[in-house]
Every structure is written in structure tokens, then in C-alpha cells.
């Protein structure tokens, strides 16, 4: 126990030295925290739409009123009209000011799925609506939807990776430890899964599921699809590692002492693969996030009105939207940031954990 902690400390101090990794870690922690406290942070529910405010631009937060007097931050309500080119023109209605309110009232929700609550971090009184990052085609708040979407986009990677790593570790471990015919069979199976182009495999798995699923089911299904696509690569590497590990003295010692095979695999072989597995997991998460994005972008993943970064981005598939309402691209920015952060973090982790790099 003691040794492992010091090893952990060692790795952590090593990781701390890499600035890029620490920044990435910080970004990820902030985003995951936002995902946990979503309901409290966002001013509106993800399906709260106001069709009249289609593509409303981000609300401007004012500090000075028309008379030039300094006030606590506030916004104006907006009115919309179409100009001669049928562009949506939003004007601020300066008649009345709507101060930003902390702990403002919003629709009732279950805080952390535990108890009912109806306050949020920041909001304004009705009928004005605060769009921190603009609105989508049906006047839903992009900020709220992004944070709600992070619940899906951020967890799908973690859960997907855990499942596929579980499969990969077990199959790789067994295959390498026993060798022979079983190894042959399992490895040919993995190759068969690897042979199919990933994206088409995802599409055909998606088609195999029955229609009319609830959004929770669709979410689980997407996780399953992504994990099913993700495990073979890892299984191959783990198999190679356990193939060499099983010849080590301590494994032979355990064998002679009569320890059961399963125990040897779980206690002596797989822990030695763990640093590789952790690095690999951090590198693999972005692939899951992108996989969900691709499915949802094609309308085959998470379904509207549930937001995910992928299906939100599908609104930005048209140049007209990007030209006039660039804020619909925000989910893309978030995907980019998260993918980048995971990659940099994995880089740092590799330096920290890989014994070969240690001086």
C-alpha cells in the first residue's frame, strides 16, 4: 500500500511539472463540475423554447443605463423584426431594464437528482430572456444546452472507455495468459471486429436497435456501440504484454504456489498493464466523444430535445447559419477543447507513468 501511494505521489509530482497537462486537467475538472451541477448553473431547461427568439444573439450585459448611470449589471429585453433581406434584426428595448439576479427563480428541477429546487446561479425576470451565448433556431438558450449536453458528451467517454477497457483487459489478459488455441480464437475474433471500418460498424449497430427508444435508452445504446467498437485495439496490446508477463518469475512463483489462474491474471498480470491502460484510456476518451458527435450529427445518436454537443452541432452544418449566427458553432469549440485537453493530459500521464521515461 505504502509503496503504491509513493508511486502515485511520484507520478503526480511529475505531472505537475507539465504545464499543458495541468491546464488540461483544470479545464476538464471545471467542465465535469459544470456537468454535475448543471441544473443549478443554467438559467433554462434544455427544452425551454421561445420560438419568437429564433437565433437571438448573445445578450449584452450592461453596466451603465441610458443616462450613463452606473448600475448593477443588467440586460434589456429584445424585439425582433425581419429586414428587407429577411435577416433577423434584434433591437434592445430600452424602456425597461432587467437586472441580473443571483439565485434567480427558474423552472423546478431535482438538484443532483436528490431534492426539488427552483433557483439557479444567474437569471433575469420574465419576459426577458438571458442568452449568454445566443439562441438556437427555436430560441433555446445555447449556454444551457451546452452545459446539459456536457453531461452526455463528457460521461459517454468515461463510461464507454470503462466498458471497453474491461472487455479489452479481460480478453487480452486471458488470451495472453493461456495462449494456444484459446489465444488463437480470441485474437482472430478481435481481428474480425477490427477489420470492419469503425464508422460503418457504428452505423450498422445503430440500425440493429429497435426504434422508439427513450432518450435514456438511446444514451446507453450509443455507449454500448462505442464500447463495442473500442475494445479490440487494447485487447491486442494487453495480450502481448501478458504473454511476456506470464514468463516472469513472480508469475511462475504464484503458479507453483497453486494460486488460481483468475487470481494470477487479476493480481499479477493486469496491474502491470495498468499504466499502459490509463494512458491509453485518456487517449481513447476523445475518440468516444467524437464518435458520439458523429452519430448525433447524422441524427442517429442522442435525439432532440435532449442536447449533446454532436446534435447541437448539426445545426451548424449549413453555411447560412455559420455566416449569420456563428454562435451555433460553440459546441464545436467545446468538443475541440475537451479532445485537446484529454490528449495533452494523456501526454503528461505517459511521461509521468511510463517507467522507461523516468530518470
Amino acid at each position: 500500500m505504502r509503496k503504491s501511494r509513493s508511486q502515485f505521489r511520484l507520478a503526480l509530482s511529475h505531472l505537475k511539472r507539465s504545464r499543458a497537462s495541468m491546464i488540461s486537467l483544470f479545464i476538464l475538472l471545471v467542465l465535469y463540475a459544470a456537468a454535475i451541477f448543471t441544473d443549478f448553473i443554467v438559467p433554462y431547461a434544455y427544452d425551454d423554447e421561445e420560438r419568437l427568439f429564433s437565433y437571438a444573439p448573445p445578450s449584452r450585459v450592461h453596466f451603465f443605463d441610458d443616462a450613463g448611470k452606473l448600475r448593477p449589471p443588467f440586460i434589456y429585453a429584445k424585439t425582433i423584426e425581419l429586414d428587407e433581406y429577411r435577416r433577423r434584426v434584434y433591437r434592445e428595448d430600452k424602456e425597461k431594464i432587467y437586472p441580473l439576479k443571483f439565485f434567480a427563480k427558474r423552472e423546478k428541477y431535482k438538484f443532483l437528482f436528490l431534492f426539488g429546487f427552483d433557483r439557479c446561479l444567474l437569471g433575469v425576470d420574465k419576459p426577458a430572456r438571458i442568452y449568454l451565448w445566443g439562441a438556437d433556431s427555436r430560441g433555446r438558450d445555447i449556454f444551457s444546452r451546452l452545459i446539459y449536453g456536457s453531461r452526455i458528451s463528457l460521461t459517454i467517454g468515461l463510461i464507454g472507455v470503462s466498458i471497453s477497457f474491461l472487455i479489452g483487459l479481460i480478453i487480452g489478459g486471458i488470451s495472453g495468459f493461456y495462449g494456444g488455441g484459446l489465444d488463437n480464437f480470441l485474437m482472430r475474433l478481435t481481428e474480425m471486429v477490427m477489420m470492419i471500418p469503425t464508422f460503418y460498424l457504428m452505423l450498422s449497430l445503430r440500425a440493429a436497435f429497435p426504434p422508439g427508444l427513450s432518450s435514456a435508452h438511446v444514451y446507453l445504446m450509443v455507449v454500448f456501440i462505442l464500447s463495442f467498437v473500442g475494445w479490440p485495439g487494447l485487447a491486442r496490446v494487453i495480450r502481448g504484454m501478458s504473454l511476456s508477463l506470464r514468463e516472469r518469475e513472480y508469475v511462475l512463483a504464484a503458479k507453483t504456489l497453486g494460486v488460481s489462474d483468475i487470481k494470477i491474471i487479476l493480481r499479477h498480470i493486469l496491474p502491470h498493464c495498468s499504466s499502459y491502460a490509463i494512458i491509453n484510456a485518456a487517449l481513447a476518451i476523445p475518440a468516444y466523444i467524437l464518435g458520439e458527435t458523429a452519430l448525433s450529427l447524422l441524427g442517429l445518436g442522442i435525439q432532440d430535445p435532449m442536447p449533446s454537443w454532436g446534435n447541437m452541432l448539426s445545426e451548424a452544418m449549413n453555411i447560412v447559419q455559420i455566416r449569420f449566427y456563428p454562435w451555433v458553432l460553440l459546441p464545436g469549440l467545446f468538443i475541440f477543447a475537451v479532445v485537446m485537453a484529454f490528449n495533452l493530459l494523456a501526454d503528461g500521464l505517459r511521461d509521468a507513468l511510463d517507467p522507461l521515461f523516468k530518470k
Binding site: 427544452d47 423554447e49 420560438r51 419568437l52 429564433s54 425581419l82 428587407e84 433581406y85 429577411r86 435577416r87 433556431s137 427555436r138 440500425a207 426504434p211 422508439g212 427508444l213 427513450s214 447524422l298 441524427g299 442517429l300 435525439q303 432532440d304 430535445p305 448539426s314 452544418m317 449549413n318 453555411i319 447560412v320 447559419q321 455566416r323 449569420f324
Partner: protein, 581 residues
Amino acid sequence: MLRFSLRQNNKDSNLSRLFPALIFFLAFFCGFRPGFSADTKYGGELILAATSDPRSFNPILAKETSTTSITQIIFEGLTRTNGLTLAVEPALALSWSVDKSGLVWDFKLRRDVVWFDGERFSADDVIFTFNKLIYNDDIPNSARDIFSIEGQPVKVQKIDEFHVRFILPKKFAPFLRAMSTEILPKHILESSVENGKFNFTWGADSKPSEIIGTGPFMLSQYIPGERIVLRRNPDYYRRDKNGNNLPYMEKIIFIILGNQDTALLKFLDGEIDYYSLRGTDYPLLKPKEKERDFTIYNTGPAFGSNFIVFNQNSGLNPRSNKPYINANKLGWFKDVNFRKAIAHSIDKEMIIQILMNGFGIAQDSAMSPSAGFFYNPDVEAYDYDLDKARDILDESGYKDIDGDGLLEDENGKDIEFSLYTSAQDNQRIQMAAIISNDLSRIGIKVNFLPLEFNNLVQRLTSTFDWDAMIIGLTGGIEPHFGRNVWASSGRLHMWNPEQLSPQTSWERRIDEIFDLAVQELDEKNRKSLYDEWQVIVSKELPLIYTVLSDSMFAVRNKFGNLKLSSFGGAFHNLEEIYIKN
């Protein structure tokens, strides 16, 4: 012009007889002399975008628009529909007459039509096209369905070289419109029909010079995935008012672009001359009209339709012996009040605003307003009123008894169904999302699911496992051609297809209307029949219509003689269009 006469000279060398040479000289003088006066109209090219590659160049086998948009330029029928007035006008036929019984139609053919290879067009080609191609059971084609009147073929007889007689088994009102079916050359295709190879003739891999038609332009080059080039047919028979040979333009080029956004960018860059725009493109294009030298035309509501349809199929799945949909759902879907409540929950106004930037109309009738004569505006309309929808549901026994926010039917089952639409069509996905949201407000749970288009069509036409769909149909000006949808025995009678006998009284009446109207040669009586049909549809709501977008075209300013219409689009009169200097 010079090139024009040179081509004729080359061809002359192939013809050894004196007579054709004489004809050539006549043609030469007729065509050439007045040509000087309007010399400036000739030449130039039109560059269009095609959405995908044509599958073949065979108009009889063609099913998809990527093929027909090319073949309709290369080939012609005996008649054609004027793209602007929607009237039937002669094409390869000069004139026609019908006897008192309305069954015997005599067509007089033009004598001045030649195929691209110089062979003369005659009655033999017409007889061949009907008897050897359309009525050939080995050749799958959609024209056979149209020309099988109550299952019987039309008799086609040759009277002399330029006269053809059609004898119908029964009266058939849209006969003249149907006669726009393309005529193919006997001298080219006869051998392939005899060898049984017709179904592989004129595929997409054929040499361009092998595709022989009579139209204003002929195929000159096809590079798969890249472009299709059509060249002017110098022997085309139509003349302008001054007797000049048509067409004016030298080339039509289709650039194959998969994506509408690519087409939009290419149009703005000046690489293509035409772009069919969506309402949402308007704010991007309109301000650039002057700078980029083009004009946006809005010709009013488009043809076609968008609607919600509910599965009312009470049949059993022959494989599993279970009903296609469960009895509860079937009960709601068959309830006209349920469908009326849905119709009141469609926020047509905002759908038009959001998805079409205001360029569209709420559709109430089964025909598009652009269809003109047969369109009936006096049908039941359903405004967006969620309270009214709630009241209708409440009165019909759908109430929320257990207080979970969802309505239940009399058996206590929650009202919940799946709604499918095409995953490729962003506009329909958005429409479905808006409608689902409103339905959830009145206590109906909708599981909305976009599917791949072929999967959607398969469910609709063969497996029948679906609850509700948002889908569309192409439309036209002749209601009878929608018979496969409206007749209770029709394959596309989506809500309850291929019934052995009509299961409801209103479906029976629609069957009657279609059977009566097709035999009614008096246009006024026909119209009143089809008016009644549109009223029945709006009252019974087998299809709940949503919104119809405007047809809008952006065309570069260099073209003369443009006569745009929703029916024909921007270039239906291709041969008359010229390029201004």
C-alpha cells in the same frame, strides 16, 4: 452559324441520295438566312448543378430525378406541358383529334423531325415505343402503369408514316398529358429489345454519341462524378417567331455537386448560373444580387407536400401473425378527432418563420395552390390552437386521469407514439422537433426518430411497422396521377395500403371520385369531382398537411426569354433561352 452549316455538310456526305440533300438545302436556307438578323442570340452555355450522377440515359427505365432531369432534355414525347401556362401543347405531334366516343385518338406527327443520327422520325418509332417497350413485360417501367387503363393496354396502330391511332379501352381524361411519355428510336433499339438486352441499353457507361433522341440538346460528354455536357442539336425542328432555328445556346453543362451548400458557394463564386434556394438562403443571397449580377425569383408555392401520416393499418403481419401496430394505438390513429387535435397542434406560422424565413404557406389542401385549375382553396383549415386541440381530445375521451402530465385513452393507456422522418432532411427533422414539442404540451408523448430514407420508405411500403411519419410526396397538376396514393387499393395509400375493398365510407367515396373523374372529359365536371375529394381529405385527415415552401430561384442576369414558374422551374423552355450580350 458557321459551325452549324459545317455539321450539315459532314452529314451530307453520309447520305448518297439526292432527296435528303435537297431537304438539307431547304433547311439550310430556312435556317441560315434569317439567322443573320438575330445572330447575337446564338452561342454561349448554361452551367447548372446536378445533385447526383444519372443512373442511366434510358428514359423508359429512369426512376430518379438525377436521370430524368437529363433525359427530359434529350428526348421528347408527342405532347408536352407548357411550363408556364400548364396547358398541353404539341411536341412531336403536329395535331390530334378524338372521336365522339372519346376512345379513338388520332395523332398527326411532325414530318420535320430527325433523330440525332439523321434518321427520320416516323410513326414506326411511336408504335415501337408503345408496343415493344412500354407494354413489354420484361421491361420495368412506370409508363405502363399510366397506360394500363383498368388493367387493359391502349391499342396503338399505324395509319400511315405520319399518322398514329390510339384506341383506349375506356375513357381516360388525362390521356393527352400522359402522351408526353418519351418516344425512342426504333432503328437504334429494335435489336437490343429482340436480344432481350434492352434493360442494359443506354446505361450510364454508354458512349455519348450512342444516345439518340430528338430533343433540343444532345449528350456530348459525361465524366462520372464530375460533369455532364449537352450540346446543341443543330437539326432541332422548332423555330422562333422569325423562323430562326432553335435552340440558341450552344451547351448545357451540369456540374455534379453532392451538396446544396457547395452549390450555393459555387453560385456565389460565379461557377454556376443557377441556384434553387431555400428560404433560409435568402438573407445571404439577396444583398449580393447587384454585386454578383443575378436575380432571385419567387414563383409562389412549390409543388409537392409535407404531411404527418398515422398508420391505420389493421392487418396482420403475415410472418409473425401479429398486428402491424397494437390495438390501442390503432384506436387513436383511426379516430378522426385525434387526427384533428394533431392538426391543431402544428405551429405552421412559426415553422414557416424559422425554417423558411417566412417564404412559405400553410398547406390545407391536397393539391398545391400552384397547380392552378384543380386546386380547391375552400377546404377545412386547421389553425394552431393548443387549447382547441386539448378540448377536442378531452371531448373524445383522452384525459389525464393519473396526473402524470400524459393523456390516457379509455383503457388507461398513455398516449405515446413514435414519429419517424428522414435523417437526411434537416428541414423535416426541425419540423418534427417543433411538432413533438407542441404535442408534449398537450399531453402526448412523441418519440421522435430520424431514419435513413430508404428504411423509411421500406417501412411505409412493405414492412408496415411504423406509428407516424413526417414525409412528403411530389406533386403535379393532374390529380389522377396521384391515384396510387388516394385509391384504397393503391400501393402508396400509406395509412392503410392495398385494401381489397375500401374500409371506410369516405375512402369508398374517394375511390368513386377517382374512377368517375378519369372518365369525365368535361373539365368543369372533373374539377367539381376533384374539389370534393380535396374537401373529404381535409375533413378526414388521412394526411395532415403542414407547410409548403415557396419555389425560389436565383439566376444569373445574362439569360433572355426566361419564363419561370413553380411547375417548370427556371429553364423549362430551354430551347428559347438565349444569352444576352
